[in-house]
Symmetry: C2
Amino acid sequence: MMKATVYVTIKQGVLDPQGVAVQGALHSMGFQEVESVRIGKFLELNLDTTDRAEAEERLKAMCEKLLANTVVEDYRYELEG
Amino acid sequence: MMKATVYVTIKQGVLDPQGVAVQGALHSMGFQEVESVRIGKFLELNLDTTDRAEAEERLKAMCEKLLANTVVEDYRYELEG
């Protein structure tokens, strides 16, 4: 059993409207020190496997095919266990 | 200038339908080793402040008031710079 954590972020240079909205909300609540907000997601996956190299290769495939939209998003992952 | 990263996760015991949907999609794509998926979000905030203690206190307030729904979500944060 291995545990993988995948972090998906919007690429630098791509507009993050959700982050802009949250920044606006924080400003209107009095948190003026917030200069920018960018929002990403992370996924925690439990993998029923013991082969680390294979798990990593398949995890990369999951990211490319489903978890991240590589046109506008970057991803990175951590694998443990 | 400080950089804060806030991680928001759904509490243990609360159903994560988005994670269940992603797990189902991965299974149907042949990734049978995926036993469970839970999805969270993270926010990267740039804060125009130098007082670490105050920044942390205000960051906690942002999480409680806007960034996390503490009824069903947990949050943790890292502060650097």
